[in-house]
Symmetry: C2
Subunit: 63 residues, 2 copies
């Protein structure tokens, strides 16, 4: 499986917001994260950068 | 390995722009894609969405 962990990057560093993320899709001014288990989380954020071999997705707050 | 293929999404559908992408980082008004082989490609685009289990990264032109 090729899921990744999603981190919100801010002034205080990286905060893990969801593990085992499958899809990230734009949704209503933010993004909707869906894990391989079907869990969903909405964040007012954008996709900042990726490091896929490290299984990392970096998000940046849109607020 | 958990690399993905990067597709530029436009009016004409999806165009494969790079295979085996490892990192995607913001760079000078666009994004820099780096493959697991070290190849690099700069695009005036943003990261639109992800489907990691399908090994797909969708980009959207910023122009």
């Amino acid at each position: 499986m090729c899921e990744a962990n999603a981190y919100l990057v801010g002034d205080q560093g990286e905060e893990l917001v969801m593990e085992a993320v499958d899809t990230v899709t734009p949704d209503d001014g933010g993004i909707l994260l869906t894990s391989i288990f079907g869990d969903q989380k909405f964040l007012k954020a954008t996709i900042h950068s990726l490091s896929l071999v490290d299984h990392k997705v970096y998000l940046k707050s849109a607020e």
